[in-house]
């Protein structure tokens, strides 16, 4: 090989190397550096936007978290739970509506079911008195007395405390403690004495009660 041919070969090699290097630098087979930089910037912007939006959504949801204690009554399994911030404070075995149907001779009928839905504690009573309703007499095949009959006033059967939920429904005590955990009430939620005391002392007027 003479000198000229040698030099030409070396120059050709250099040219080839330079071409290859410049191709690598410009990245002809994959996105260019410029495209990559733009894509990363766009993704960064997208992530920042989503983070901002999610922060806003979380804040909106957090505004609705009041940290208040609330009561949950699971009628199917007869369980009452005191909760706060999604934490269980106390669980108690309770009694709920018997789901029985009775009918008076007059045709009036009653279905003893605990109501479902969202309620609030409307009032708190100590040593509550039970005013016997008509169905109580019908159930025992007794004549129905007048509305203001003093015989209707019965003391000591609802325990020491009662939380009023409206429409005559209450969370109260019971003398039928052996039946707790079953469907035996006329629609109210019954609790044992110790559980009732705890629930009564924890709940305030306005405390939410969820029956399902």
């Amino acid at each position: 090989m003479n000198t000229d041919t040698y030099l030409r070969s070396v120059l050709l090699l250099i040219a080839l190397l330079a071409t290859a290097a410049s191709r690598t630098a410009s990245g002809e087979s994959s996105p260019s550096l410029g495209e990559l930089r733009a894509s990363v910037a766009a993704l960064g912007g997208e992530a920042a936007r989503l983070e901002e939006e999610n922060r806003g959504l979380r804040a909106m949801l957090a505004q609705q978290e009041d940290g208040d204690v609330y009561i949950v009554v699971e009628t199917e399994n007869n369980r009452l739970t005191l909760r706060q911030n999604n934490t269980v404070l106390h669980t108690a075995v309770c009694g709920t509506g018997s789901r029985k149907f009775i009918e008076a001779e007059t045709g009036t009928n009653w279905f003893f079911e605990t109501p479902m839905g969202s309620f609030s504690v409307l009032g708190k009573e100590r040593n509550p008195v039970w005013i016997r309703p008509n169905w109580s007499y019908v159930e025992e095949n007794m004549p129905i007395p007048p509305a203001n009959d003093p015989d209707r006033i019965v003391r000591g059967v609802l325990g020491k405390y009662a939380l009023l939920l409206g429409n005559g429904y209450k969370i109260h005590g019971t003398t039928w403690t052996k039946l707790l955990g079953t469907h035996f009430t006329h629609g109210c939620v019954s609790l044992g004495d110790a559980d009732l005391e705890l629930v009564y002392s924890t709940a305030k007027i306005g405390t939410k009660v969820y029956l399902y």
Binding site: A21, G27, L50, L57, R83, Y210, Y212
Partner: protein
């Protein structure tokens, strides 16, 4: 040899060669510079591609989070109970608005559930009233929520399923209807 190089003829030949060598060296230097530049560009490209991958994953995670947060926002405004199925913690949360009503442990999850069932919103599409309380719920015709002895007839028998305790399923089974929403968290 030295004497030969000193001849006028050799001197005349050596000059262009020197110039050529100089050109060659310059060209080599240029190639080296370009190659170094290319190496730097490769490093930057690798770094950018890694950043791109990380950001894509971050954006996907944020989109999933936003989807869930928007679901919660809708549920807080609605008047229906709903379920959040946390597949990682194997727990379902029965909720109403912003309140947690009950935590339900998921006893069994059929193999490949995560692959077959998309994360996100699902609605109860069917309540199956099985004999002897062997009830079950079909969600979105995509999966079944049932207890151990639930009877799931065809065509839903082949769907992926989640098994919970009978008392847990029954705690809400009777009080909900088709349309009840559930959200599957990955």
């Amino acid at each position: 040899m030295t004497a030969l190089h000193r001849t006028p003829l050799n001197k005349r030949c050596a000059e262009p060669r020197r110039a050529l060598r100089l050109r060659l060296l310059s060209a080599l230097a240029l190639v080296l510079i370009i190659l170094c530049g290319a190496a730097f560009a490769d490093d930057e490209r690798d770094a950018l591609m890694e950043r791109q991958r990380t950001l894509k994953a971050r954006v996907a995670a944020l989109q999933r989070e936003q989807d869930y947060l928007m679901f919660l926002q809708r549920m807080y405004e609605s008047d229906s109970k709903y379920l959040v199925l946390d597949m990682k913690k194997k727990t379902a949360h029965l909720r109403y608005k912003n309140r947690l009503l009950k935590d339900i442990p998921l006893k069994e999850i059929s193999p490949g559930f995560g692959r077959k069932v998309k994360a996100g919103e699902h609605a109860v599409t069917m309540k199956i009233e099985g004999a002897k309380e062997r009830h079950a719920l079909v969600l979105n015709n995509a999966f079944v929520l049932k207890w151990k002895r639930s009877e799931v007839p065809r065509p839903h028998a082949s769907l992926p399923s989640i098994v919970v305790l009978k008392k847990d399923l029954f705690s809400f089974y009777y009080t909900i209807g088709p349309g009840m929403m559930a959200y599957v968290l990955e």
